[in-house]
């Protein structure tokens, strides 16, 4: 498990221990990765983050068209692996969690402990640092730095 900011580590570690999730990715709604567990290659993280952010944006737009409030979570049930995608509010803005889990756990367990992690992240987030807007000219540099930090290279 690797996180860009240390305060994310304890809530994420607790979630991983309780939920038995195989892969977990925390990112901003723009697809900037905050923490990851289980991914072996940076390319997989980039792809999953981009796809996850795109899916959340699509479902939120669908909800808006339907005049419904935002969907809380999206769960794809597979025969061997399942995937949950959920957006949530943090003091650092809106984030997205992408969780892949197998038959050793269940959607109910993953959702239960995911909600606990969201609460723990809200409690742990430092308030003093303002959110810095991502500028287009810095994007590539920021992305490279994030991936190096997440994969320890």
């Amino acid at each position: 498990m690797r996180a860009l900011e240390p305060w994310v580590e304890a809530p994420l570690q607790s979630f991983l221990a309780e939920s038995s999730a195989r892969l977990t990715l925390l990112m901003t709604t723009s697809g900037q990765v905050v923490a990851q567990h289980g991914f072996g290659r940076s390319l997989d993280v980039m792809t999953a983050a981009a796809l996850g952010a795109g899916i959340v944006a699509s479902t939120e737009e669908l909800a808006r068209l339907m005049g419904a409030p935002r969907f809380e979570a999206l769960v794809h049930h597979g025969s061997r692996q399942s995937c949950m995608l959920a957006a949530f509010a943090t003091p650092r803005g809106r984030w997205i969690g992408l969780v892949v889990f197998g038959q050793e756990t269940s959607a109910g367990i993953v959702q239960l402990f995911f909600d606990q992690m969201v609460q723990q992240l809200a409690d742990a987030a430092p308030r003093e640092q303002p959110q810095v807007p991502m500028l287009a000219e810095n994007f590539e540099h920021e992305l490279d730095a994030s991936l190096r930090a997440l994969f320890g290279r």
């Binding site: 049930h77 756990t105 269940s106 959607a107 109910g108 367990i109 959702q111 239960l112």
Partner: protein, 115 residues
């Protein structure tokens, strides 16, 4: 009243029962619930569903039949669970003064009719 609601109503009428729910053991989600305020049905369904499915796998691994009734006793009450067919489990949250014998009989009978 639907059959599921009738099942939950039958269990919650037992003295000392604080709530009952039907959960899916495969995904740990609530199918139906009838709970007093303050009882987190989602947590009960997820954790009990997980426990029941793990116990079933344990029993299978040990070459014995899966449990037909679970009683988790705590300081302030108990969780009772009766697995039914189609990966459903009937769960009751009971206080320390509940009539456990009656609850067990009713739950075993009701669980046999689930699905």
């Amino acid at each position: 009243m639907t059959p599921v609601q009738a099942t939950l109503d039958r269990i919650t009428r037992i003295p000392g029962v604080r709530g009952a729910l039907i959960a899916s053991t495969s995904d740990g989600l609530v199918v139906a619930e009838q709970l007093m305020d303050g009882i987190d049905g989602r947590a009960a369904a997820a954790l009990t569903g997980s426990l029941v499915s793990r116990l079933a796998r344990t029993a299978e691994g040990a070459g014995v039949r899966p449990p037909v009734f679970l009683h988790l006793r705590g300081e302030d009450g108990s969780i009772l669970a009766a697995p039914g067919i189609q990966e459903l489990v009937l769960v009751a949250v009971v206080g320390p003064d509940a009539n456990l014998g009656l609850a067990r009989l009713e739950m075993l009978d009701a669980a046999g009719q689930l699905g």
